[in-house]
């Protein structure tokens, strides 16, 4: 049974056009997750005090992008006032760009399988811009992940999962409740 399955998978993989199809699927996955991640920064900024504390020292107007090389999707975010605004898809004159080398480097992080620290350690991500500010952004990404991903996943992808008090759990609920409207708002 296993052999039959393996042969079938190999057969599908050898079909002409399969690599392009596979790449299209990966592109769609990355693009979808980034479309959620962008608005998630805004929502977490609204409901999570430790996120606002983390970004309070950032200079106003700091722009950063996440993208997938070589021609994958990208999003840009900006610090405005006491929160982060999602500026939409594409690179919009960012000061700092964090680029995944390819879809296979991006997907584990975007799908909540690997943490950003692991991605940095494995040289899967390139940084253009100030490395100290990148560290600050990385901590903010970790807070977003902590409020976006289920507890079990958070324990796996962060070096240390934050302690979730009753208030944090309520805030997590607010993030989930606010996420869909935020994503929809940016889509229309």
């Amino acid at each position: 049974m296993g052999d039959v399955l393996k042969r079938s998978v190999n057969l599908v993989r050898s079909l002409p056009g399969f690599p392009a199809f596979q790449s299209g699927v990966k592109h769609a996955l990355c693009s979808t997750v980034l479309s959620v991640l962008g608005p998630a920064f805004e929502v977490v900024g609204r409901h999570v005090p430790e996120f606002r504390k983390e970004i309070e020292s950032w200079e106003d107007g700091r722009r950063f992008s996440l993208r997938v090389l070589p021609k994958g999707p990208a999003i840009t975010l900006e610090k405005r006032g006491d929160t982060i605004r999602y500026l939409g898809k594409g690179l919009k004159s960012p000061h700092i760009t964090m680029s995944f080398k390819n879809y296979d480097s991006a997907l584990p992080v975007l799908m909540g399988i690997a943490g950003t620290h692991q991605t940095f350690a494995e040289n899967r991500i390139l940084v253009e811009g100030d490395l100290a500010k990148t560290m600050e952004i990385n901590r903010a990404v970790n807070i977003v992940n902590a409020y976006l991903l289920p507890g079990m996943v958070v324990k796996k992808v962060l070096k240390r999962a934050p302690e979730m008090t009753l208030k944090s759990c309520i805030n997590k609920g607010k993030v989930y409740a606010g996420l869909v409207p935020a994503v929809v708002r940016h889509l229309i």
Binding site: L131, A132, E136
Partner: protein, 391 residues
């Protein structure tokens, strides 16, 4: 344990041994170079070490185009721009960096400016941003600690913005590293101790940080064992050529290891001590090393325990954490011994750091790139706690 994924790269040709400097003109020939720009500092020049380099060129058709000996302890963007203009004016075709980390970083910085054709080096900070092939660089370290001769990193101070800029690229590796024991003979005992502990910190962090991998483990192990054997000897007797060469090799091996495996919280804290209070990097690393190891025991007791064997302890039938504490105490013993024989400071307060600066150091440390590779999460409060212990 085999990591999920790792990379290892070191394209540097290594020449190690007595009179290794004599081979520089031959190496220039292989690289297709004719006229070298020597980048060094006043201390190295005054110690007569550049004369050893000049002598190597005496019977060669290769030449030294210019000797730039104005490298300060911290390289700057203004300086690398000036050096790049000098390089072009003097029609040199390769860099010959002779010195400690600063001379090597200055040459790397000027090389970026020339090869990328820019005078705005700020736009190229980050990792793997440099796209163009750099000119050949030959590195001759005169201290045994930084490992810059085999690393892909350069740190340049930005005078306008008052920040240190970090550049990391596979293109930044020198083409040749020359380890000649004569070049480190004049280093005074205290500096020998500090740079040696810097090398030990590189090796120990490479062996314990997130990008730890089987290849770099080999380099880190070899470095730790050489340091155990030769550091005290080199400090006690600077003219001990075998010990000097042993330490030069240890520094290089640790450099290869950490250039791939990276370093963690100890370096992040030491960089911040340097940035906020200008504490010497090697000394800050030496002081913070046992504290950083102790902090990380909670997350990675096994590799820390393994290092006790490399430092000369027998592996007892202990719990991993207990054995890891043996490693920490062996490092403390070494630090104490170096303090006795060379006056190497053992507390942060002894390297010009005042207590009121500790919060600023902790803030800077958690934003240091090295912190990303530490195996255990370090918050501001935890960084401050470690600093207080080391104070």
């Amino acid at each position: 344990m085999i990591p999920h994924y790792y990379q290892h790269f070191c394209p540097v040709k290594i020449l190690s041994g007595h009179n290794a400097v004599s081979n520089i003109p031959y190496e220039m020939d292989i690289l297709g170079c004719r006229r070298a720009m020597v980048v060094t500092d006043k201390g190295v020049a005054d110690a007569g070490l550049i004369n050893l380099v000049r002598e190597a060129f005496a019977d060669s058709d290769k030449e030294i185009g210019y000797v730039f000996d104005e490298t300060p302890p911290d390289s700057s963007n203004r300086l690398v721009n000036k050096l790049a203009r000098l390089f072009e004016r003097e029609k040199c075709d390769c860099f010959l960096a002779v010195g400690g980390g600063s001379a090597l970083d200055t040459a790397k910085g000027a090389n970026i400016v020339i090869s990328e054709g820019t005078d705005d080096i700020l736009s190229l900070q980050g990792n793997e941003i440099i796209k163009k092939e750099l000119l050949p660089m030959i590195a001759v370290p005169t201290t045994s600690g930084t490992g810059s001769e085999v690393t892909k990193v350069a740190v340049i101070y930005n005078e306008e913005k008052n920040v240190k800029m970090a550049f990391a690229s596979d293109r930044l590796y020198p083409r040749v590293a020359v380890l000649d024991p004569r070049m480190t003979m004049t280093v005074p005992p205290k500096l020998t101790a500090a740079t040696g502990m810097d090398a030990l910190t590189h090796a120990m962090e490479a062996y314990t940080c997130l990008q730890k991998n089987p290849i770099d483990d080999v380099f880190a192990r070899a470095a730790i064992e050489l340091i155990r054997k030769y550091l005290v000897r080199a400090v006690e007797n600077g003219r001990d050529e075998e010990a000097r060469l042993g330490m030069a090799n240890a520094s290089l091996l640790a450099g290869i290891a950490f250039s791939n495996s990276m370093v963690g919280m100890i370096h992040a804290l030491a960089h911040a001590c340097g940035g906020v209070c200008h504490a010497p990097h090697g000394m800050a690393n030496a002081i913070l090393l046992p504290h950083g190891l102790e902090y990380n025991i909670s997350g990675i007791p096994r590799p820390i325990a393994e290092m006790s064997g490399m430092l000369g302890s027998s592996i007892e039938y202990m719990e991993e954490k207990e054995q890891a504490m043996v490693t920490v105490s062996l490092v403390r013993n070494l630090l104490g011994r170096l303090n006795q024989i060379s006056g190497l400071p053992v507390r942060l307060r002894d390297v010009g750091i005042t207590e009121d600066k500790l919060p600023a150091i902790a803030s800077a440390a958690i934003n240091d790139g090295a912190m990303a590779f530490n195996p255990v999460e370090v918050s501001y409060d935890e960084a401050l706690e470690v600093l207080n212990k080391a104070y």
